[in-house]
């Protein structure tokens, strides 16, 4: 169940900073540990940058989830960019189509509890990550 939801635009580099700060305050709100806060905010930074640079802009939806007694933070990154034709390859460390290190997707996956990526060439990409408390 979604108990709180914040939608933020991702058009420019400065928006990545705003998404990071909002993700941080929600992570604090549900009481994630400092290490878990740092992990999810770092993943948010990588994915938000992907949305701006590779996806040509889009939005982030930040949600607090409640599943019985446990709480979690779910972050969705959506763009209507070119899409990713080879998802398996895109997830590999070191593979990049840009000038980056190619750690964003694979690295972000390692930093959260749940990770899903959907992408359609010519339609766009949506990455969803969740970090549960505990």
């Amino acid at each position: 169940m979604v108990v709180k939801s914040v939608e933020l635009p991702l058009r420019a580099q400065e928006d990545v900073v705003v998404v990071r700060q909002n993700a941080r305050s929600l992570a604090v709100e549900i009481g994630l540990t400092i290490v878990d806060q740092t992990k999810i905010v770092t993943a948010a930074s990588e994915l938000a940058r992907n949305t701006v640079i590779h996806g040509g802009g889009g939005k982030a939806i930040l949600e607090i989830l409640k599943d019985g007694p446990r709480q979690g933070l779910r972050l969705v990154f959506e763009d209507t960019g070119p899409g990713i034709s080879d998802l398996e390859r895109a997830m590999q460390d070191g593979y990049t189509t840009g000038t980056g290190l190619g750690l964003g997707l694979g690295g972000s996956k390692r930093l959260c509890s749940e990770f899903t990526i959907e992408s359609k060439v010519g339609v766009g990409t949506r990455v969803t990550i969740t970090r549960w408390k505990g």
């Binding site: 580099q13 990545v16 900073v17 905010v41 770092t42 940058r49 690295g107 390692r110």
Partner: protein
């Protein structure tokens, strides 16, 4: 344009990153520091990241670039003050900051820079990567 201030202390340059940097600001710091190494004839660069609550792959790459460029210009770079949670996250992200020397705090970082200048290796110097 917004800039991160660079302080000069003797032959060393000191930077304390206090703000949540967007990518352009990080790139500007990289350029500014590299220029200042030459214009100030600096032999060492100390970057304090104790105020940073995250280091993502972009910032990690910037730190590596600064260290690499400074080295070519005959200056040593030391990154100090990394938070434990940042170190844990960086390693899980897959970023081990190769080629970047680190120290626990500014004092130890300055010691390392001085001893590097004297051709010695500091006892608490740690090379990551």
């Amino acid at each position: 344009m917004e800039r991160i201030p660079i302080l000069k202390m003797g032959s060393f340059l000191l930077v304390t990153i206090q703000v949540d940097m967007h990518d352009q600001l990080a790139l500007a710091l990289q350029d500014d520091l590299t220029s200042r190494v030459v214009s100030d004839r600096a032999t060492g660069v100390l970057i304090d990241i104790s105020a940073l609550d995250i280091v993502d792959s972009f910032i990690g790459r910037m730190l590596g670039n600064i260290a690499g460029m400074a080295r070519i210009l005959d200056a040593e770079t030391i990154v100090v003050g990394m938070r434990p949670s940042v170190a844990i996250t960086l390693v899980e992200l897959g970023l081990s900051l190769p080629g970047i020397r680190t120290a626990l705090n500014v004092d130890r970082g300055m010691e390392l820079l001085r001893s590097a200048r004297n051709g010695e290796t500091g006892d608490d110097g740690r090379q990551i990567g």
